[in-house]
């Protein structure tokens, strides 16, 4: 028969490809740090009104640090020196801008080019930045457990807990590991451990939550968080995560004062400034995300790096 309407013959009625209204997110570690005591107790202050972006954090040996010494009747008691030290941290500006043209905004079919989407991104990006900064600190503690080129085991996890306990680190502890390390520990717990561990309800619950990044649960009383931001050690042979208690990591941020009469700027959750920047002449609109944050190693003894095969 003739004159069939075929796909190949209606070029003027079709397009080469259609754009899906649903999209896939590119792979990235989007998990934020948990609101964990080991992190929250390391928060020093909001730098608004501090007078400097650099904060010196004193370490003081008090409240039971020095024991009483033996005295004698009628004899003057000698002075006990007050032990002290300090860490320094600098609060710096972290920001980014997405700027798009009016044409893009007009043609957008995905629904991404919208202020509310960028507002959510602002808070998420700030959380990811903070997580990244912390992950780059946990690899550097003086105490270490694990062996180069050897998979992480449950014994390494226990050794880290013991190390921190001996150092009198205040609990709860938080373990920040690369997913390779966490996977090795869970495999060891599931396949190579005895009944005391294998049949522990906490371990079993953790085994059920093995997939995906972020907070995994509690393993032997210590919280576990996995992130791809954990750096390498020994020239890439190993991953260097860590476990720490309160005071090992200290941090500070700053509340950015906004002009309340200006509807183009607002402070979102987590003290993130979100601001709309309009360029009418060029026909573009930018959305700025900004946060002030600084993070440093505090008391080195309150952390233990877990360095095992990558």
């Amino acid at each position: 028969m003739a004159n069939e309407v075929l796909y190949a013959g209606i070029a003027d009625l079709t397009t080469v490809e259609a754009l899906s209204s649903r999209f896939l997110l590119l792979a990235a570690d989007r998990n934020a740090l948990p609101a964990h005591p080991a992190i929250l107790k390391g928060y020093m202050r909001d730098m608004a009104g501090a007078g400097s972006q650099v904060l010196k954090v004193p370490h003081v040996g008090i409240y039971g640090y020095d024991k009483l010494q033996t005295g004698a009747e009628g004899v003057d008691t000698g002075n006990t020196a007050l032990s002290d030290g300090s860490s320094t941290l600098s609060v710096v500006q972290k920001d980014k801008v997405y700027e798009y043209s009016d044409l893009v905004r007009m043609l957008d079919s995905t629904g991404i080019i919208r202020p509310d989407v960028f507002a959510v991104d602002a808070v998420a990006s700030a959380s990811v930045t903070m997580r990244d900064m912390l992950a780059n600190l946990v690899d550097n503690f003086s105490s270490t457990v694990g062996a180069t080129g050897v998979n992480a085991t449950l014994a390494n996890w226990i050794d880290a807990i013991t190390t921190l306990t001996i150092a009198a680190a205040e609990g709860d502890y938080l373990g920040v590991l690369h997913p390779v390390q966490a996977g090795d520990i869970m495999k060891d717990a599931a396949l190579a451990s005895g009944g005391a561990v294998q049949f522990n309800p906490g371990v079993q619950a953790l085994l059920e939550k093995m997939m995906s990044l972020g907070y995994k649960g509690r393993l032997l009383g210590v919280d576990m968080f996995t992130t791809l931001s954990v750096p390498t050690a020994n020239a890439g042979a190993d991953r260097a995560g860590g476990m720490f208690g309160a005071g090992a990591i200290i941090w500070a941020d700053g509340t950015i004062p906004v002009d309340t009469s200006d509807s183009n700027q607002m402070v979102l959750a987590d003290k993130v400034l979100f601001e709309r920047i309009r360029n009418g002449r060029g026909g573009t609109t930018g959305y700025l995300s900004r946060k002030y944050i600084g993070m440093s190693e505090g008391l080195d003894a309150f952390g233990c790096s877990i360095i095992t095969d990558a």
Partner: protein
């Protein structure tokens, strides 16, 4: 058909051959590595951190990451473009040195290693950046591959570098007390592993590795203690201490009659 010669057409404009860079999406272009982003860093030596690699006891080097906001590092920003021009880690360096860490300068690598990533001897560095990934900085002893997330250690050259640093006196060799502590811990771990390996033969390679590590630490300890025995005794810089003997009892004053 064979083209033997070509006479240039003098009417056309002058120019040169050009091949545009098609990037990693073309069939001909090599894909860029897909490792996670990592900032530049300074390597540091911490006297408390040691490990065993390739049958040798080596320091477990730390890092000072060049990330603004981490350990007090700040950034210099290009005010016209907003791009980060440099990161100043001076506060981080100061804190590390205060803790007794030794910072290893970037250019402290053997000349032969400078050629690993096409560096010239005037600008040696133990860092390199894979092409197409300005957000990735790796040690020159870290290998990455096109289109892949895998990272590997160039163990042979890494150990050569550690030996080079120790020979030049930039970082020390492990002290005896550290080796003794490592040995005690590793022997215990080896023994525990040996018990498990009896019931689980698949643990045999792991046990072999643990035994090799113990032998490495023992050899290093014998070398250090042997060196200590040969060296003349260090001058006495302290004095012996014994607790004070019990003092004579103070005579009780007599009451006047």
């Amino acid at each position: 058909m064979t083209i033997d010669s070509y006479e240039r057409d003098t009417e056309i404009a002058e120019g040169g051959a050009f091949v545009p860079f098609e990037g990693p999406t073309s069939r001909g272009g090599a894909p860029v590595t897909k490792v996670d982003a990592c900032p530049p860093f300074l390597q540091t030596f911490n006297p408390k951190r040691w490990t065993v690699m390739g049958g040798r006891v080596i320091p477990l080097l730390g890092r000072i990451p060049f990330m603004s906001g981490v350990n007090g590092a700040t950034a210099i920003i290009d005010r016209t473009t907003g791009a980060e021009k440099a990161v100043q880690p001076s506060m981080a360096r100061g804190m590390a040195e205060e803790k007794g860490h030794i910072i290893i300068p970037f250019n402290e690598i053997p000349d032969s290693h400078a050629r690993m990533h096409g560096q010239d001897l005037a600008n040696k560095s133990y860092l390199w950046k894979p092409r197409g990934r300005p957000d990735v900085t790796l040690s020159i002893y870290t290998k990455c591959y096109p289109g892949d997330t895998t990272l590997d250690c160039d163990e042979k050259h890494y150990l050569e570098w550690i030996e080079y640093l120790q020979d030049r006196g930039i970082i020390p060799t492990p002290p005896a007390y550290v080796l003794r502590r490592m040995l005690a811990k590793m022997e215990q771990e080896r023994d525990d592993l040996a018990d498990k390996a009896r019931a689980k033969p698949s643990l045999a390679p792991l046990l072999e590795r643990a035994e090799a590590d113990v032998r490495a630490v023992q050899a290093e300890l014998e070398k250090v203690e042997g060196t200590r025995r040969e060296a003349p005794p260090a001058p006495d810089t302290g004095t012996a201490f014994t607790p004070d003997a019990e003092p004579e009892p103070t005579p009780t004053p007599r009451k006047p009659r």
